[in-house]
């Protein structure tokens, strides 16, 4: 019986304490953003899907060594290049990223010794078609600087 009333009072007090906490939150400004109308700036290190880095003439830095292709755990990078006649270096002819299997681990960027790929800041990736996620990075690079 001794605990009967003390239980009642301490219990009621704890409930009032909790209500005081939520009441204090009531007039505060919301901490959320209404997303499509406002959005955050992405961090410089944000890991989006990869993109090619071009030089001044918008030619890719890539030398088609294929390190990124080998480093990729899920095999989502496919690149091809050919040696132009008379040229010494291989020239990139296609670079596709299959974003459907990409896990954004960044192994490819780390493995690149030629400063040819980096992470993009793209985060608005949504589509109902699978083909939209098979990204031609070479085309993307060409379109980027236009």
């Amino acid at each position: 019986m001794g605990g009967y009333f003390s239980d009642l009072f301490s219990g009621t007090k704890s409930l009032l304490d909790g209500m005081w906490v939520t009441l204090k939150e009531f007039p505060k400004r919301p901490v959320t953003l209404s997303y499509p109308h406002e959005s955050l700036k992405m961090y410089a290190r944000y890991r989006g899907h990869i993109e090619l880095i071009g030089d001044e003439e918008n030619k890719p830095n890539c030398v088609v060594c294929g390190m990124c292709e080998r480093a990729c755990p899920s095999g989502c990078i496919h690149l091809a290049g050919e040696k132009p006649e008379g040229g010494k270096k291989k020239v990139l002819t296609s670079y596709t990223l299959d974003f459907t299997t990409c896990s954004l681990c960044g192994s490819c960027v780390e493995s690149c010794n030629f400063d040819a790929i980096r992470f993009s800041n793209e985060y608005n990736l949504a589509s109902t078609r699978k083909e939209d996620f098979i990204i031609d990075l070479l085309k993307r690079l060409e379109e980027q600087d236009k």
């Binding site: 209500m19 906490v21 939150e25 009531f26 919301p30 959320t32 209404s34």
Partner: protein, 338 residues
């Protein structure tokens, strides 16, 4: 005679409109309130501050398909949502919004409200049983024991008020509290009883019981979404669900009306009858009071975790019923003395 009938029909129609609008915009209030308590803005997209959200939700609910699970008893399944809504509507008939706005003043108004409130518990039983779903079944069993446990302290506490007022008529009960807020039944001072220290306690008991009666958190054991998925309305879609929803909010309104009338002086102005237009006794005070109580309901819902069924029964049988009985005895004694 026919005028009275017309009066009642009109009143029911107005009640439906009132309940419908209330239910819709209480949902909006609830979502906004939840948002503010949770550091977010709540619905914002449809209309200014999301004010068009409730009609849009209503249209969505009405246009959805009403699914009837295979193998259920169709009649029982369909009648349950109506049972949830109907008693709530009927109860509005006897509630006095002001000294002249009342559909049909019944001398035993308090009894009518409790009679129909008990029916609300039955709708949960019928819905849970008729759904042919194990979660709903458990929920309906819980709901019934919950209703039984809370009707008792609710009634006992109300009897103390009835004893003080000497009337079962809701209008008469308010009439005795018109001399400013010190004459309200919630205070221990009372002109007839003298000094009844337990009046605030019985106000709290009535408040807790009406939270439990309306199946709201922390007593929402019937729908306990993290245990029973959605409890008794797991299988209901479209307006079946919509009716339960509206019934729930109608019950909240009735609960807060009852609290206001019994304890907070109904439509009376807290400063007594000043005679100046905006501050005199009128329906505005009544609405202000019920919405304040609804605000507290929302506040409670978004603060506390849910109790369990035995926690709830413990609270009822160990605390509320003994205290309300003691309160009844004390009040009766005081009435005898003075």
């Amino acid at each position: 005679m026919s005028l009275t009938l017309l009066n009642v029909v009109l009143a029911v129609f107005i009640a439906i409109c009132f309940v419908g609008a209330n239910a819709a915009y209480l949902v909006w209030c609830e979502r906004k309130g939840a948002g503010f308590y949770q550091r977010r803005p709540g619905p914002m997209e449809n209309g200014w501050w999301g004010l068009l959200q409730p009609p849009i939700d209503g249209v969505k609910l009405m246009t959805k398909q009403l699914l009837i699970p295979g193998g259920v008893d169709k009649a029982i399944f369909m009648v349950a949502p109506v049972l949830a809504m109907f008693p709530a509507l009927i109860s509005f008939v006897t509630i006095p919004f002001s000294d002249n706005i009342v559909a049909h003043p019944i001398d035993v108004g308090v009894l009518v409200i409790f009679a129909f409130a008990a029916l609300g518990g039955m709708s949960l039983l019928v819905a849970g049983w008729g759904s042919r779903n194990k979660y709903s079944m458990i929920s309906s069993v819980r709901a019934v024991s919950q209703t039984v446990a809370y009707e008792i302290p609710l009634l006992i506490t109300t009897i103390t008020i009835v004893m003080i007022s000497g009337s079962l008529n809701l209008g008469d009960i308010v009439q005795q509290q018109l001399d400013g807020f010190l004459s309200w039944n919630v205070w221990p001072l009372h002109k007839e009883v003298g000094f009844n220290l337990l009046m605030p306690v019985s106000f709290l008991i009535l408040f807790v019981c009406s939270v439990a009666e309306t199946n709201r958190a922390p007593f929402d054991l019937g729908e306990a979404e993290s245990e029973l998925v959605a409890g008794f309305h797991t299988e209901y879609s479209s307006m079946g669900f919509g009716l339960f929803f509206m019934g729930e909010y109608a019950n909240i309104v009735i609960g807060s009306c009852l609290i206001t009338i019994l304890f907070l002086g109904g439509w009376s102005c807290p400063f007594g009858d000043l005679g100046i237009f905006p501050f005199t006794h009128n329906v505005g005070w009544f609405l202000l009071k019920i919405y304040l109580i609804i605000f507290v309901f929302i506040w409670i819902r978004w603060t506390f975790p849910r109790t369990t069924i035995y926690g709830l029964l413990n609270l009822s049988w160990k605390y509320l019923i003994p205290i309300s009985l003691f309160n009844l005895l004390l009040t009766a004694g005081l009435l005898k003395v003075f």
